[in-house]
């Protein structure tokens, strides 16, 4: 169970990016973190995984706990060893390494090296396409294949919780569907908890049980995924619908006025 308790993040000791974010991810659950560009979603993930420290960011207030242990002062390396693995935005595969070497890099922190081979087979069973490409240099894979590799590489670390940052970025709708189905399957079969950050709110809410909506460094709304999908504001701003099934006519709405509503 991951618990973020009212955390505040400051970059370069001056820029306040997160202003009291609280959320939790129970073991084996899928939760979605939604919001517009610059809302602070990626920063939240980096605060959890410890990558923030590389960018001169710091958790200055509140606490992050994973299974009862404070992790907000731990290094990225220790956090991976505790079982939290972030799949970064934009896939970030090691371009000059082969697919198989990428997977081995994912297993770097594993103590039980003899199981690495069988886990590779597990990754190939989720992403059969990777098996055929195993000796291919990762930089020449297509976007969808790279995303599969990025998720597969995370699986190799046998994490308890995966943080997925925009897995749909730059992928064709059909591929997005395929990848989300696989994410759901991994969650079910391996019991991995997942916190997913998405612009594609519909796709994320379809697989998540619970969602959080962020704006300007705060969580402005949260609730069960089904409820959020029914919420009129969410529908309008994130799902792009006014009434169900009807496309929004932008001529009729003064968009900017309604936007203000959530921020007190």
């Amino acid at each position: 169970m991951l618990v973020l308790n009212n955390i505040e993040v400051i970059y370069n000791q001056v820029i306040l990016v997160l202003k009291g974010v609280s959320l939790e991810v129970p073991d084996g659950d899928i939760r979605a973190l939604l919001g517009a560009n610059g809302a602070g979603k990626t920063t939240t993930l980096k605060a959890i995984s410890g990558l923030l420290k590389e960018e001169d960011g710091e958790v200055t207030d509140g606490s992050i706990e994973f299974n009862g242990e404070r992790i907000d002062k731990k290094s990225a390396e220790e956090i991976v060893k505790l079982g939290i693995f972030q799949v970064m935005e934009g896939r970030r595969v090691f371009e000059h390494l082969t697919v198989e070497e990428n997977l081995r890099a994912g297993a770097y922190t594993r103590k039980d090296k003899k199981n690495v081979k069988s886990d590779m087979e597990m990754v190939y069973s989720y992403f059969p396409r990777l098996r055929d490409l195993r000796n291919r240099v990762a930089g020449y894979l297509s976007g969808g294949e790279q995303q599969m590799l990025a998720i597969g590489r995370a699986l190799m670390a046998r994490p308890k919780l995966m943080l997925l940052d925009e897995p749909s970025l730059g992928l064709a709708p059909l591929l997005v569907k395929e990848i989300f189905e696989i994410i759901q399957k991994i969650n079910k079969e391996e019991g991995v908890g997942i916190l997913i950050v998405e612009q594609n709110a519909m796709a994320a809410l379809n697989i998540a049980s619970y969602g959080y909506i962020m704006e300007n460094g705060r969580i402005v709304m949260d609730g069960p995924a089904e409820k959020l999908k029914e919420n009129p504001d969410v529908k309008e701003f994130y799902l792009g619908l006014t009434e169900v099934g009807k496309k929004k006519s932008f001529r009729e709405v003064k968009h900017y006025k309604r936007r203000k509503r959530w921020l007190t």
């Binding site: 990558l51 990225a76 970030r92 890099a105 670390a157």
Partner: protein, 294 residues
């Protein structure tokens, strides 16, 4: 013909030493984007260390060779820990300046400890040259070649198959992503410096056995520049092949052209080739091209 083959063989030997030293250079650049101007001084220190142990402490050569490698590993770790780690996150140019300072420091240290006059290793390999067909090659050359090829093979396998080797290449590719795998970037940098110091030490010992050593061995660090730029700054196979190419070219050029120019062709030849190759392949022969998907 005999003259040509003779030059070719000595060029190969020189090239193999170049390849070794260049390998260390490439490693540091690859993992941390730092151009290490102190690589030549690492060669120097390795050579003197082995010499000191064999001559002054009367340790058998083989043992002092191994001890020197152990010392080089420690030296590499120490340099990384003391000088490079505090610089993580600083502009890369400052780090490069630091390696220039480091080179002056190490060179000074060698002068204080061992003085400046040329010293030679005791005769380890028999002086009796070996006849291969119609060329005669001294044994030290053959051993140098064999030894550096063994080391080059070991390191190539190391990068391809070991976890830490893969982690080092991953870090070179994408540092933040490597960090997100739980790869300790600090440890990777430390490894890179340790390996660089080891290959430099081996290079230094081989050079010392061929020519004897004095403080000017440190210039070897600069002579390696054309090698790494030719091979591609970030390519391990490039460093190896580049090393052999430059070694052979230098030897052939100086062998055939020196009489016409009155010497000094050796120093120039490699740079001429370098410029021509860079005009054709700007990333070097084997440099990683930036993979861009369109």
């Amino acid at each position: 013909m005999q003259y040509f083959v003779q030059l070719l063989v000595t060029g190969l030997v020189l090239g193999s030493v170049y390849a070794m030293v260049a390998l260390g250079f490439v490693l540091i650049y690859k993992s941390s984007s730092v151009i290490n101007f102190a690589q030549g001084e690492l060669v120097l220190i390795g050579a003197y260390m082995a010499l000191w142990m064999t001559v002054s402490l009367h340790i058998p050569f083989l043992i002092s060779f191994v001890l020197t490698l152990v010392f080089a590993v420690i030296l590499g770790f120490a340099i990384e820990r003391l000088f490079l780690r505090p610089m993580i996150g600083e502009p890369i140019l400052s780090v490069i300046m630091l390696t220039i300072g480091l080179s002056a420091f190490l060179k000074g240290l060698v002068i204080i400890l061992w003085g400046t006059e040329t010293r030679v290793f005791p005769e380890i390999f028999s002086q009796e040259p070996v006849k291969l067909g119609f060329v005669r090659i001294s044994q030290v050359y053959i051993w140098s070649l064999v030894l550096s090829i063994i080391f080059l093979v070991i390191f190539t396998l190391f990068f391809k198959y070991t976890d830490i080797g893969i982690a080092m290449r991953a870090t070179a590719d994408d540092q933040t992503a490597a960090l997100s795998m739980g790869i300790s970037v600090k440890r990777v940098f430390a490894m890179a410096w340790a390996v660089a110091a080891v290959v430099a030490a081996v290079g230094g010992i081989l050079l010392g056995n061929i020519n004897g050593i004095n403080i000017s061995v440190a210039q070897f660090g600069l002579r390696v520049f054309p090698v790494v730029i030719l091979g591609g700054l970030d390519s391990v196979p490039g460093a190896i092949i580049g090393g052999f190419i430059i070694g052979i070219i230098e030897n052939l050029a100086s062998g055939y052209l020196d009489p016409y120019f009155g010497g000094g062709v050796r120093e120039v030849a490699s740079f001429v080739v370098l410029v021509i190759i860079l005009m054709i392949k700007p990333y070097g022969l084997f440099g990683l091209e930036r993979i861009e998907r369109v």
